[in-house]
Assembly symmetry: C2
DNA sequence: CTAAATAATTGATAAATATCAATTCTATAC
DNA sequence: GTATAGAATTGATATTTATCAATTATTTAG
């Protein structure tokens, strides 16, 4: 028990790679998931020039607040964040979790204001990409424009996947699909897809999935009893992925892309 | 009763404006909602040149199918469509409704394939915008690139609004928010926001909102009993918008934009 | 215009999830 | 290290919504 907690702490430390903060796009391990994809040489340096690397955020620090004016989009380098919106009844509604390589702020371009707030779930570093500069550079570099449009399209696609989830399913389907989604995203970033640490609380998960915390907790318990997962607090091991996919009621869209698919059509 | 049905039919006819089908972007009433926004003169003609106006779709005809290869994005000129995805259990899950001025296909850019199908809910005409040409032209015209990014951002924003809805609320909150959303979208297109016809079935609404048809039907009945709406089949009159907003648990993001806001930052 | 098919409504019951309450576990501050 | 606050779990109950079944209304096809 004590040991597992130790593991958790060790891993949290490993995630924060302060050396990486100053690394150029060229060297960045997220290169393939990020805007620089398919840009090279002098063009890559132009992009590199407009990107600002901010000091890491501590846990619970905000990257931006609701209603804050939109100037930049952000890419997570390490750590993770949640985005959330206030609701009338003074509650907050979690709208997303953001892992390394994922973008934040794309929903703010239209109105010029952030419709949601972003808060770090752990020590987290991000790259800031001033949007005006990015637009300007995209004007010069067709492949950058294309990649930007692709990433925005992916965001739309991912949101619709989630809508499928929230719209229809039972509590167990929602949680199962959530865990598989996190697993897949870790895998795409070069981490294990079978074993990982959740940086968000059960409360955040419940809120995100539109369930009560108690229900989420009970589902974790049930999944363990049924041998689908091992869960020790935030440490999760996927034991029976196939069954979880069945429970999640997944269609082929949600499954892991083959190498072919993941290359897309750059 | 007979009369109301008549009204319904008349309105359906009015929506289909065959003359409009050949009209250039310059003349199109959706100009301000669409890609041509903030483009004029020779540039507008360039855009106009790449846009194809397709023959109107009949009710239940498909604009594109799931898995179909992505070549173009589409703008609804008149009529309406639903998009939907197949689920494992052979059902379909409705992912969106698309009214005049709204775009379809943005979720397909990333993978190059349509993750959902689009089917006309009534006689419907669309503009087809070949995506390669649009990308090329956006490369030339900064304001077009900007508008394209804005529209994609709006799509992301709208999807997240819906997620807020599906994630948390009760059946009555969902239906109320749905009706208010449709109302607002009609208003933005110059139609009445207090009285309109729903082109989709109760089944589609229920599916979209993640509820059983029976539940939706009961909610319509309850809303009428409580004097919130008048509903005669597909004909809806909003009687107490304020109360509906309360029930929907809306935050300021969902409300009608002021003139200021609706100008955005073009 | 009539018959058949489809869509919508209504009622009764079952199932799922939220809520309330209490307890245990974990992390944090001193 | 201990005390305290916060997070997670578990149980009992209430509420909501889905499901099943039947009826009515509307649209479509001939």
């Amino acid at each position: 028990m004590q040991q597992k907690t130790q593991q958790g702490k060790l891993r949290q430390k490993k995630v924060v790679d302060f050396h990486a903060v100053k690394v150029a796009c060229k060297e960045c391990s997220l290169h393939q998931l990020c805007l620089p994809r398919s840009i090279t040489g002098a063009d890559l340096e132009k992009l590199d020039d407009i990107i600002e690397r901010k000091r890491p955020l501590k846990r619970n620090e905000h990257l931006f607040q609701v209603g804050g004016s939109f100037n930049s989009i952000y890419v997570v380098r390490s750590g993770s964040l949640k985005t959330y919106s206030p609701t009338v009844d003074g509650q907050e509604q979690v709208t997303g979790f953001h892992l390394p390589g994922e973008l934040l702020g794309l929903d703010a371009i239209g109105k010029g204001k952030h419709p949601c707030a972003a808060k770090a779930l752990e020590t987290t570093s991000v790259c800031e990409v001033p949007f005006e500069n990015l637009e300007g550079l995209s004007q010069e570099l067709p492949t950058l424009q294309h990649q930007l449009l692709r990433l925005m399209s992916k965001e739309i696609f991912d949101d619709q996947e989630l809508m499928l989830l929230l719209g229809k399913k039972t509590a167990e389907a929602r949680l199962s699909a959530f865990l598989l989604s996190i697993s897949l995203r870790f895998k795409q970033r070069g981490f294990s897809s079978a074993e990982f640490y959740l940086s968000m609380s059960r409360n955040d998960i419940a809120n995100y999935l539109g369930l009560a915390v108690e229900t989420v907790s009970r589902m974790f318990t049930r999944f363990q009893e049924d041998g689908l997962i091992e869960a020790e607090r935030k440490h999760i091991v996927i034991k029976d992925r196939e069954m979880m996919q069945k429970i999640a009621g997944m269609n082929e869209c949600c499954e892991e892309p083959t190498d072919e698919q993941s290359q897309l059509f750059v």
